[in-house]
């Protein structure tokens, strides 16, 4: 409880100034450190052949986003498949199988970090540092860039004032993709990572390029005479893993391993790291758009949902009747205990980070359900950029329904939401059940594909969680799945991409469509989105539109699981 409050206080104290700073970075305003950064940025622009001052239409912006992703994918995929022949491989890690490499590439490209491999044994230092850490740095920034472009569109585009008399412009300028990505990476994410990795190194997380030592275990036996301790540049990777809503750890067991998470302070720093950038982005909304009340509404709504969800998780893990049994300490780090584990579980799924400090598979069924609900909503803070982007989707849907109830054609910030926009929103809303439920049903139906450890209701939870986590670009695993198979790799790759690209590009397209419209001045008769009434409406619509669709599978999975467990314990 105390830890949660401390976390919230620090988040607001740090998020506020960081958000202001981020707004300056994303707006491209002059900064005192311009000289330094421009010296770094100019060669990058030159290399990319980009002209950062040039505005892009939404198509240009989305095109640049997709093409840059495709190119990165090809490079990283090849690196993974050829790592044995490439330098920086002191442990002699072999090449990765094509399908596992594909899944790993897509997983990190989509800022998901779902891992079907075990990091320390299957990736060379080069792969970790370029393919993994490189993508971990760049992909959250891409999400941030797209959401910034979307916000510009919602308020009429960058040159909103330079309109023609009839209120239309030929091109809605949503910003320059290359400039957004470069500036945010160099001026915001990298400095923050540097700080975090220094803090973690101080707490004892390894940071080296040397091969790990070989030691003798305390209980040495004939078969287990010596243990090789894998090391590497762990601290920087853990820093970006936490900060960039990535979640993919250096080690397979992620932040449950003492080497990744050695002390209570490191555990707190890492929990804080998960939330810091997504919360800063929410704080950025105010100065970036010039609407402080809008920022307050976004923050208030997310905070409300976050408090409810976190509270439920902690209650379910530590205090629910089913949790009383000591059996529930299974899968938890004894060092951390149930509360810190539940807090992490709640936060890591709200933020779409996916790193873990306990085995989610072993948490109480209802904690698992909270985690699933968080990922279904995927906008309680959400991932870097994509969380706010998903929130904008809910905002548009809520404005549409609530707007009708105020007796006007629904408008967001003075621009009407009509058929074409609703059609695009519908595609996005449909995609979620289609992909998640479709693959869950297919996999469960052909039981040989599943490869999971539990046949019962828990088995449903495991498969559903895996696809859900992939679609939400979360990356945490319920585990207990033999998921390094061709089927899991390929199907998850599809789900990962389906959960990332449409969710980022479609709202941008909608924002640009709205920007084209005549803007009506806001008055007493127009729906005010910056009110508690609207925020509650939005939460209601999130629950009804998102959670209700998945009720049957949640009931068959965690709810049935919980009831079976309760009746088992009662006996």
């Amino acid at each position: 409880m105390l830890e949660s409050l401390l976390l919230l206080t620090l988040l607001i104290a740090l998020g506020w100034p960081l958000g202001r700073y981020l707004a300056v970075v994303m707006r491209g305003d002059p900064m005192r450190s311009d000289v330094l950064f421009q010296w770094l940025e100019r060669p990058i622009y030159g290399l990319l052949g980009a002209r950062p001052e040039l505005g892009m239409s939404w198509r240009g912006y989305a095109g640049a986003f997709l093409v840059s992703n495709l190119l990165l994918a090809i490079v990283v995929w090849i690196t993974f498949m050829a790592q044995a022949w490439l330098p920086l491989n002191p442990d002699g890690v072999p090449n990765m199988r094509w399908d596992l490499a594909l899944h790993t590439t897509v997983s990190f490209l989509t800022n998901t970090n779902q891992q079907h491999y075990s990091g320390q044994a299957q990736l060379s230092y080069l792969s970790q540092m370029t393919g993994i850490v490189g993508l971990q740095v760049i992909t959250p920034v891409m999400g941030l860039a797209v959401v910034a472009a979307t916000l510009r569109g919602l308020f009429g585009g960058r040159q909103a004032q330079a309109r023609k008399a009839d209120g239309t412009t030929a091109i809605i300028d949503v910003g320059n993709y290359w400039a957004d990505v470069t500036r945010a990476t160099l001026r915001f994410v990298l400095p923050l990572c540097l700080l975090w990795s220094a803090l973690l190194t101080w707490q004892g997380v390894p940071a080296t390029l040397k091969a790990g030592p070989v030691t003798t275990p305390i209980e040495a036996t004939a078969e287990f005479k010596e243990q090789k301790i894998p090391l590497g540049p762990v601290a920087p990777m853990v820093a970006i893993k936490q900060l960039g809503s990535n979640g993919g750890g250096w080690y397979g067991p992620n932040s449950a391993v003492p080497l990744e998470n050695p002390t209570p302070l490191s555990n707190f720093l890492e929990t804080l790291g998960i939330c810091l950038i997504p919360v800063s982005i929410v704080f950025m909304v105010g100065p970036f758009t010039g609407r402080r009340k809008f920022r307050a509404m976004v923050f208030g709504t997310m905070l409300t949902m976050s408090v409810i969800s976190t509270g439920l998780a902690i209650w379910s893990e530590g205090h629910a009747s089913a949790a009383a049994d000591t059996a529930l300490m299974e899968g938890k780090e004894v060092r951390l205990g149930p509360d810190a584990s539940a807090l992490w579980a709640a936060v890591t799924t709200q933020i779409n980070n996916g790193s873990v400090n306990a085995m989610l598979d072993s948490t109480a069924p209802l904690t698992g359900m909270v985690a699933m609900s968080n990922m279904l909503i995927n906008a309680i803070w959400g991932g870097v950029g994509c969380g706010l982007q998903q929130f904008i989707v809910y905002l548009l849907l809520s404005v549409f329904l609530a707007g009708l109830m105020t007796g006007r054609t629904p408008e967001l910030f003075g621009r009407k939401i009509e058929g074409p926009e609703v059609r695009l929103l519908a595609v996005l809303v449909l995609l979620q059940p289609l992909v998640i439920l479709g693959f869950t049903a297919l996999t469960l139906f052909v039981a040989s594909l599943t490869g999971n450890s539990n046949p019962g209701f828990h088995g449903i939870s495991q498969v559903f969680y895996e696809y859900l986590s992939a679609y939400a670009n979360n990356g945490s695993g319920f585990e207990g799945l033999g998921d390094a198979t061709l089927w899991w790799n390929l199907s998850c790759s599809i789900v990962l991409a389906a959960g990332r690209f449409p969710a980022l590009v479609i709202p941008l397209a909608i924002a640009a469509m709205l920007a084209r419209k005549r803007r009506a001045p806001e008055g007493g008769g127009t729906l005010q989105v910056e009110t508690p009434t609207f925020a509650l409406t939005l939460i209601g619509i999130v629950v009804i539109l998102t959670l209700l669709q998945f009720m049957p599978v949640l009931v068959l999975g965690p709810v049935a699981d919980h009831m079976a467990l309760t009746s088992l314990l009662a006996r």
Binding site: F400, L401, A402, G403, L404, M405, T406, G407, R408, T409, G414, I417, E418, G419, V422, L425, A426, V429, L430, P433, L434, L437, G438, T440, A441, L444, F445, A447, T450, P455, F457, G459, I460, F464, R518, R519, A520, P521, G523, G524, G525, Q528, T531, T533, T537, G540, I544, L545, L548, Q549, F550, M551, P552, V553, V555, L556, A560, M563, A564, S567
Partner: protein, 678 residues
Amino acid sequence: MSTMYASSAADRSAGTAHDLKPAVIDSFVKLTPRHAIRNPVMAVVWAGTIVTAIATLSGRTGAGFGWAVTIILFVTVLFANFAEAVAEARGRGQAASLRRARKDLIARRLDDAGKETTIPAAELRPDDRVVVEEGQLIPADGEIIEGVATINEAAVTGESAPVLREAGTDRSGVIGGTKVLSDRIVVRVTAEPGHSFLDRMIALVEGSIRQKTPNEIALGILLAMMTLTFAIVVVTLPFIGGFVDVEINVVLLVALLVCLIPTTIGGLLPAIGIAGMNRALKANVLAKSGKAVEVAGDVDVLLLDKTGTITYGDRQATAFHALAGVDASQLRQAALLASLADPTPEGKSIVKLAREKGEKLVDPAQAHFVPFSAHSRMSGVDLPGARVIRKGAMDAIARHVQTLGGTLSPELEMRVNDVARKGATPLVVSDGRHVLGVIELSDVIKRGIKERFARLREMGVKTVMITGDNKLTAANIAADAGVDDYIAEARPEDKLARIRAEQAGGRLVAMVGDGTNDAPALAQADVGLAMNSGTQAAKEAGNMVDLDSDPAKLLEVVEIGKQQLITRGALTTFSLANDVSKYFAILPALFAAAIPQMAALNVMKLSSPTSAVLSALIFNALIIPALIPLALRGVRFKPASATELLRNNMLLYGVGGVLLPFGGIKLIDLVLSALFNV
């Protein structure tokens, strides 16, 4: 429907009772696939009905339960069709009486030589000239080019009081099928055969050319999306359930699907659309499209004509100001005498005011009344004994008094200026060569209009008053009536300019107009309400026509538009909110056999899985007819700010929508278990 119709009202509003039979028949006719497919939500229910019927026939489920579900689903579809049919039938009742007015019209066409030929009205072409005399029906829409006549337009407007139409004025338009009560007019035909006002009106109310409005289309997409989403949920469920050996029978799956998809709003959506147009028509406003009605709900600025909207048509006497040394009663008596024979509303109001102030009505012997003339610009009375009483404008009376040898006091000028400064019109009264005082004539603001504007302001609608008065007068009236802005000394082109200016600022503008020179502004405005008494050009340019020719109707139109959108939003919210309780009814029932612990989720304590499913389905079906009156009437709408409206409607239809079905389903379950022991 309403009591506002006079003679033809009885058959036009033809009661609901005998409308029901054709509506019931129509509900079955609408089962044809061609019609069913137009409403995706209900089409899914219809398809579900067939699936359950086949499943029951092939013995995949118990016959009793299978048929019960099939019948309930079938009835659900019928209820939805019925809702639409009832709304249509109401429109058709109105159309039928209109059509009667159109039948068998005969025209007396004039050729260039002025010779008359009698032909059927259907053969008339635009620019033909026809003669219509007392007692005859006007054969086609047109404009009077010669003469003046009183006309009974009851066939179209339902209003039996005759109206005056005159060539060369803004009141020159006539409608085919209406009756000339007096005099003889020559009308130039303006409408193509089959495209007359009446034809268009019939087509509109019959819904034959009803197009979905943009808001309706957008909502339709949302509903289709929800339907498809739940279809995915239901189709994947048996595969997921199969993993834990939960067998789910196909009838149960269809039941789950039907309960989850938004059938309530899906079933009522077409009816709401038709009812919106009907509501406008009930207010005697003919909207040329459903879209026009909804746009009225979005309007930000209303341009209102002062006369008829904000003030009563004419100025009225509100005070007497006697000059020093003149007895107040003396002034009143003179004013009364001078106005006794004055037929104008101003004159009548002077008599009324004088009598209210205690003057007795006398009928002077041998009085010679002098009517107002453009030349003298005075009116009054000559009494025996060379007593000459006159009232008129300041300069006219001044000249009159001076020719009689009188003088003007400086006090008079002061009094006159005082009155004028208030925005009122001063009339000076003289008796012989003495000036007695000043009558104050002012615009009287309609009762309740100020509150109405305040409500509009609360809804974010700005009002702008248009008047030909000078700035001073306009400012006073604007302040008294509580309008936000005014345009004084307005010319028709000022309206157009103002509309363009507001639109450039992103605002939607509504206005009222009747004259030909209003036509460009009516066309430019987002909502143009033309007066039925107005010219054909104005009626063509506007997107609505007020059959009562009441400019204040614009306010009502705005409220109808808003009500229309709120009804759709509220019922959608209600429909979606209902899903929560239906889940609690159906999910435990669905898995009860395979997972006994699921009983814990049966929070309503429904008696059995069978009863739970049937109760949820029956509730789902019954809620459609239960809400038909609401869909037709529109939800109760109290003007308020958007935030307040949202809060109230969310509480009523959102929270209410979550809670109500819990009670409803439980009740049906109690009845079912008592009656059939299921």
